[in-house]
């Protein structure tokens, strides 16, 4: 490796070493614990100080290429960005282009000697307090590309000896791989998070006269998405609530839930009667070649005829989904009679909605099979246990009911794997008179 030495002052420091040789291994191990680019940079900056350097900055080419992100300095968490043009033709520019290293000595009286390797005035100001100082910049090169540079300063004539430089090179080569992995993870993460955000259950809107609650627990414990889904949206003067289950788990199932939700919203623009809506959706998915089954509950919620009573009229249609449980404020629990074919199985499926009237304090609890089929020590969670729990929770706020169902099911599982679990409850608001 070519060693370019740019000595702008006198009295260059003697060869010294202060760092443990195993430091490179320690830093590599610490960096292996993180796939987040910023955290990986922090691990590196924290690792090199104070043994290898008194002060350090990591410069990374920004994803768009035009900028240079500068991490660290006196405050390891600090972040600055400068234009890549700023470093063109400087020693740092050479490091970033070639991946080689540059060593520079800056004497006490010299003002601008630092600018060759430190491209920001605030950072130069920090480093200037360490003069007479030695500045070492090493290219961070991994998998054939130079990602940036590790810029380190030793002050008060401590200097970088040959052993220090060899150690710094070892640290940089290991750190480069970790940083590059984190960079790849981050880039991939940007793509997935955009898709992911469109598939997570939506926040619940305020529905006049109604109180809503929901809980969602995907089978894949590291994910926020799965094959269960729900949606609540306004269609004209009505509100529609859907809860469904795509056969399968994980990302592939989640992608189809996104399509189902979007299809429903589009169809609702033309048709708001739940039975007819499910019929339209079934026809769409019948023509589809994805060969996945979707069960779905669709509810239309409207205010009752007399405003004083404050009750809600809910029409319920089901496409092969477990019927919602009607929980009266007094503790009575019954399943709403609603049945119909799973979506897409037959081309011209007919669905008939059942009408339910909710008085203040009553609620309809919708759930997916991850609830009843949760397998614990004593077998499946089951419908009976759910109905018994809901009876005890009668009159509680829908959010409380959903939280309690989730907790009871997860405690029943006692750590066992489970299918996606979704619970939505729509209650009739109590009048606040």
């Amino acid at each position: 490796m070519i060693k370019a030495e740019d000595t702008t002052g006198t009295g260059h420091a003697p060869a010294t070493t202060g760092a443990r040789p195993e430091l490179a291994e320690d830093i590599a191990l610490a960096m292996a614990g993180s796939l987040n680019l910023r955290r990986s940079v922090l691990q590196l900056l924290d690792g090199v100080r104070p043994e290898v350097a008194d002060w350090a900055v990591v410069a990374l080419a920004s994803p768009q290429g035009a900028g240079l992100q500068l991490f660290g300095g006196s405050d390891v968490t600090a972040e600055l960005t400068v234009s890549r043009r700023r470093v063109a033709g400087t020693a740092l520019g050479r490091v970033l282009t070639t991946g080689m290293r540059e060593l520079l000595h800056v004497a006490a009286g010299v003002e601008d000697g630092l600018s060759a390797l430190i491209p920001h005035s605030a950072l130069r100001h920090e480093a200037a307090s360490l003069r007479p100082a030695d500045v070492l910049a090493i290219g961070l090169t991994a998998r054939g590309a130079t990602l940036g540079a590790l810029i380190m300063v030793r002050g008060q004539g401590r200097g970088f000896g040959p052993d220090d430089i060899a150690l710094a090179e070892r640290i940089a080569s290991r750190a480069s791989l970790a940083l590059d992995s984190a960079r790849l993870y981050e880039q991939r993460g940007e793509i997935t998070s955009a898709l992911h955000d469109s598939l997570v259950p939506p926040p619940l809107p305020d529905v006049p006269g109604a109180v809503l609650g929901a809980r969602y627990r995907p089978a894949a414990e590291q994910l926020d998405i799965g094959g269960d889904f729900y949606d609540v949206f306004r269609a004209g003067a009505d509100w529609l609530i859907a809860l469904g289950d795509v056969c399968g788990k994980g990302v592939n199932a989640a992608v189809l839930t996104g399509r189902a939700r979007q299809s429903l919203r589009t169809a609702a623009h033309f048709e708001r009667e739940p039975g007819a809506l499910l019929g339209a959706l079934s026809a769409v998915f019948h023509d589809d070649t994805s060969e996945r089954f979707i069960t779905l509950l669709c509810l239309r919620v409207r205010a009752g005829e007399s405003p004083e009573a404050g009750d809600l009229v809910v029409e319920v249609a089901s496409a092969g989904h477990a019927p919602p449980l009607l929980v009266r404020a007094d503790g009575e629990v019954e399943a709403v009679e609603a049945e119909g074919a799973v979506l897409g199985v037959v081309g011209d499926a007919q669905y008939v909605a059942t009408t339910v009237r909710l008085a203040p304090g009553d609620q309809l609890v919708l759930y997916t099979d991850g609830v009843e089929e949760a397998r614990g020590e004593s077998g499946f969670y089951g419908d009976d246990r759910l109905a018994e729990l809901l009876g005890r929770l009668a009159g509680a706020a829908p959010d409380v009911v959903c939280a309690a169902v989730e907790q009871d099911v997860v405690e029943h599982l006692a750590g066992r794997a489970h299918d996606d679990i979704a619970v939505v409850s729509v209650g009739c608001a109590r009048t606040t008179a």
């Binding site: 610490a30 993180s34 987040n36 900056l45 926020d224 009159g395």
Partner: protein, 329 residues
């Protein structure tokens, strides 16, 4: 807003919680916020204390679990109202992920910490109740936060909180912990490898600013104690089944939920003592169970027989046996 005004706010809020009157409770909070009350003071001196009364009422048998749930929902709505006001604060600090480990279903405390940190200028991400460690890790890699804050109110969640600490520290991220399961000093927090411990929301704001940017990975827990806790956790369902079949005995008509809860809390206290080397959870839980029985006017001999049954059930676990025998005398 003066301390006297906050006192009046607390009285009005407690009254609304006792009646499970969400509208009134939110009205009280809204009025206080409009009067310029400090959001943190509202959380720590109004919503928090009112919530402790809820737990006490349940322990004394005055409230059912459903009442407790309903009252907690009121407190959560109040916290959400305060959080909405707080979200207008500009972000001037880094990012914190606030979470509850598995088996921790009391999301309210985490909401309050989230709200308090947000009001101090942190950008916060709140993960819900009982979050798996894998999911926390995913968030840590995706967000790269400056700190993790873990709220733990139940002793049974300390082992999974330890997993959170391991996950965070493996990524170099400092961890702040707090909540009733950690008690009133930092001993349990330090034993589990947390970077810092906070007594309440106001303390959390203070302490989180002083945490280092990067921390090393967590040291392993003492091997023998950790192995025994893991064995107890694996045998948990069997231990509960065995103990509930023998205590309180056929002639005593005690609510099965209360029986299970008492036994479970004591076993969780043993887990906590093993993992943290702090024996106080056992004596404190024994005191809690004894009081619970007293409130229900049950004979004191029931507490003694519960102690004896646990002593028998723990006989194959030497460290647990020793801790239990020396803590519940």
């Amino acid at each position: 807003m003066s301390a006297a005004d906050l006192g009046a706010t607390l009285t009005a809020f407690q009254d609304a919680v006792a009646k499970v009157d969400v509208t009134n409770a939110l009205g009280v909070v809204d009025a206080a916020l409009a009067d310029g009350a400090d959001p943190i003071a509202l959380l720590t001196q109004v919503v928090g204390p009112a919530q402790r009364v809820v737990g006490d009422k349940w322990q004394r048998g005055e409230w059912s679990v459903a009442d407790e749930h309903a009252a907690t929902a009121v407190a959560m709505s109040a916290t959400e109202t305060i959080a909405r006001a707080v979200r207008r604060t500009p972000v001037v600090r880094g990012r914190v992920v606030v979470a509850c480990a598995e088996r921790e279903w009391h999301a309210l405390a985490a909401m309050m910490i989230d709200c308090a940190l947000r009001s101090d200028g942190w950008e916060t991400t709140l993960l819900g109740a009982s979050t798996p460690a894998l999911r926390l890790s995913q968030y840590l890699q995706d967000l790269g936060p400056d700190a993790v804050a873990v709220s733990c109110s139940v002793l049974g969640s300390l082992p999974t909180t330890r997993r959170f600490i391991e996950a965070s520290r493996a990524a170099g991220i400092p961890v702040l912990v707090g909540g009733p399961a950690f008690g009133t000093d930092d001993l349990r927090a330090t034993s589990l490898g947390a970077t810092a411990w906070a007594a309440d929301a106001a303390h959390a704001i203070e302490v989180i600013r002083t945490m280092p940017a990067v921390v090393p990975r967590a040291e392993p827990l003492p091997e023998a104690a950790a192995a025994e806790q893991a064995a107890l956790e694996l045998a948990h369902a069997a231990l509960i089944a065995d103990l509930t079949s023998r205590w309180p005995g056929p002639e005593c008509d005690l609510d099965p939920d209360l029986v299970k809860d008492s036994i479970e809390q004591l076993l969780h206290a043993v887990w906590a003592a093993l993992l943290t080397t702090d024996p106080r959870p056992i004596s404190q839980t024994a005191g809690w169970v004894t009081a619970l029985l007293e409130f229900r006017r049950l004979p004191p001999a029931l507490a003694t027989s519960l102690r004896d049954e646990l002593t028998r059930a723990l006989r194959d676990y030497p460290l647990a046996s020793f801790l239990f025998a020396t803590s519940w005398t």
